[in-house]
Structures are given as C-alpha cells and as structure tokens.
Symmetry: none
Subunit: 237 residues, 2 copies
C-alpha cells in the first residue's frame, strides 16, 4: 500500500490498521503532510506496520521494485488515460498478480486523490463501485474495502455449515407437539392427517440444530406434563 500526500495522520493509522486486519504488511508513504508520519500511531495493533513503513519523496522511488502499480480513483470529472476497472471485477486478476510479485496499490490525498502526474506511474486504475451522487470515499475506508476484496480467500478456510437435527428427532418433536396441542385444546384429539402434516411441515421448516431440537422437546414435555397433571390430581405422580 502506497499512500501519496496523505494529510491526516489519523488516516495513515487507519490504513495501517486495515492492512494489519487483512494481512498486508508493507506500507510506503510518499510526501506525507507534516513533520512525521510516524506520529500516526493511533491505530490499535497496527504499530509494527507503521514502524516498518518507509517514506519516499517520489512515487517513482516508492514503486521502483514493483511489477504492477495500481492507482485508485473515484473517477470524478476527470479525463482518464488508463483502463479503469471496477474493484470487484478486477479482483480475481489482481489476486493472481499478487501471487506473482510485488504489487503497489496507490491512494491519493484526502482532498484531491491522485493527480494525473501520479497516475502516470500506474499500469491501471481501480475504482470502488460507489453511488454516483457520492463517489469519493474516506481514505481509511477505501483502503479497507480494497484490501478486503484483494485479500479474500487468502484468509482462513470457511466454517462448517450449521448441523441439522436428524429427521428421527424431528418426528419425535412433531409427535410431542401434536400431543401437547391436543392436551392444550388447540387441536381436537385424533386430529386428521392433514393437520398432522401441517404440524410436521412447521417443525421441519424451523431448520433446527440437534441441540435446539432437544431443547424444544424438553420444553414441550414439561408443558405437556403440566397440562395432563393438573394441581388437584395426585393420582399417579
């Protein structure tokens, strides 16, 4: 990530934080505003990246060892001389490039973005698909969105899908629910099969995990017992 003429040290900090979040380690700054960008330490956990950040006085020097230089732009009212691609559409290609060598991702100043002179150092341009009425993003947020998209699939493998209760458990739950509804007077005793199917479909629609099926079964059994053993009745308890 190369930040060009960044004015607000807070933005250097949030850019570094996003880099840390997405596992991007090399930060370079070109002509940062103010005496020292190293004061920009506000970002939680980002200090290793800020400490090893390098400062350059020109873009040419900052990207000298890179194979691909990508400029970011809001693409507002500007005649562009480069191919301009949408971040989400370009991302698959860029991820391949990232695997093959050093890729520089340039972000311009908060006020004016990258100048035409800055862009002349780029192979191609990237824009984040934002709303026509408000294209220009906050710098730290733009860095976060780009790195999220480019770092995708470099991260941890996906979580397992939620487990589902076995059908036998759902049948048991359906049976106890039917019994409870009869005990509660919601259904007539020996309700017909159409009603039974309706209740079963309801239970199956809930997409229960094994734990939740168990939980509901326990609840229903307790209520069923209460309904069939009124307080006056000490018969067979």
């Amino acid at each position: 990530v190369v930040l060009v003429s960044t004015r607000n040290p807070l933005n250097i900090g949030t850019a570094a934080r996003a880099m840390s979040n997405f596992g991007v380690t090399r930060l370079r700054v070109v002509n940062p505003y103010g005496p020292s960008f190293r004061e920009a330490r506000s970002a939680v956990g980002a200090s290793p990246i800020l400490e090893s950040a390098e400062a350059f006085s020109s873009i040419a020097d900052a990207v000298a060892d890179c194979q691909l230089v990508i400029g970011t732009t809001a693409a507002q009212n500007r005649e562009l001389h480069h191919p301009l691609r949408r971040l989400d559409e370009a991302a698959p290609d860029l991820r391949k490039e990232l695997a093959g060598g050093n890729v520089a991702l340039l972000f311009g100043s908060e006020k004016r973005g990258l100048s035409n002179a800055d862009l002349s150092h780029c192979h191609c341009l990237l824009h984040i698909p934002t709303r026509d009425g408000h294209r220009s993003m906050n710098l730290g947020q733009a860095v976060a969105v780009c790195l999220y998209e480019l770092a995708r699939d470099l991260q941890t493998p996906t979580v397992d899908p939620t487990p589902r209760a076995q059908v036998s458990e759902l049948e048991r739950l359906t049976a106890v629910l039917l019994e409870s509804l009869e005990a509660g007077g919601y259904l007539e005793p020996q309700a017909n099969s159409v009603i039974n199917e309706k209740i079963r479909r309801l239970v199956f629609r809930l997409n229960l995990s094994p734990e939740d099926a168990d939980l509901l079964l326990g609840m229903l059994r307790k209520m069923l017992w209460k309904m069939t053993h009124p307080p006056g009745d000490h018969g067979n308890d």
Copy 2:
C-alpha cells in the same frame, strides 16, 4: 445500519459516509456515548443521513420493524450461540433478503463490540474474514467493508426471498414462550436475564415466517391458558 453504544462521534460520521457512498440511507443509533450523536457531522457529504438518523434507547426498539437482524462480530474468544457466517459467503443470501424487507446490520462499540445480550436480538452473525492475529476492525472501516459487499450488484433482479416475521412479533412470541415455560415448571418464575436471552436466541434462530410466528403464538397461548386454568378451577372463566 444500527450503531450500538458507539463512543466516538467520528466513527458515526465515517459510518454515515460509507452509507452515503454505497447508497444505504437509514442510520439508527442505540445509546450513543456523549450528549449528542448529532454532533457527528464531520463526514463529507453525509449530513442528510446523519440528520435523519434516529436514536433509540434499546436494540429491541431500534429493530422492531425489521425482518432480519444481523450482528457483526470479530468472533474473538467468545462462545457464540448463533450461526456465524463469513461476509463474503453470506452476501448473496443477504442481498436477496435486502430486496425483500428491512434488514438491520448491527455494529457494537469500538471497545467491546456487541455483547451477548445485544446478540440475543440477532437472527445470525456475520464476520469479516480478517487475519487471526488481528481480527478486530476499526468501526468505520468495518461498516464500509460490509456495505461494499452487500451493496454489490443491487441492481440485478433477484427472486423473492422467504418473508420473515417482524422482530416485534418475535419479541411477543419470546414473552409468551417464557411465560409458558414458567407455567409449565420448565423455568423458575422470574428467570434471570441470561435465561431470557437464551430463549430469545432460540426464537430468533428459528427464522420464522409471519404465518409460522402467528401459528406458534396461537399454540402457545392455548397451552398457557390450559396450564394456568386447571380443570377444577372455574373461578373467572
């Protein structure tokens, strides 16, 4: 977008800016820190969103008219009771939901994120795939990344998603279920808030349609009546 207990007005501003960038207009804040979140006007071009932002004193109120409530979490060192999905994997489903009704996307405070109590109001959880060593993102950047992903391809037509019960209905169902479980002896009367949250999470996990929520409510009410009006008691019927 629902910001819960946000401390830094700057973060409300950058969240609003990202919303403006990605065409998301309705901002709600729950218990923002400090005298007034309306001071958070620093974000360029975001003022219409901030001006129309609504403040609430509880999450339940803030999401009452929503069909789907999604919590965001860094998923660090926490036992989670919800299905947790990666933003990029869940996005296609969520875009369909967005076409069908109000979806709330909850973000917790800068320091602690969403609490377990906060999460009990959610149907499911989302995390941004970040590096294991530095999971927790800056709030404004997390909002930007989520909205970038979810706003993608909003123009493409989608099939109708399954309709969901409104949160206010789920709250009603939770209340009646709690009452029934107490009446049935499954829970102690005046069960503590941890139990209440557990029951609420269960109800939200079921992903009920409006019709099913209605159906279950009717069933529970009938059983509750039966449990609280034993056959010998002809007092006030």
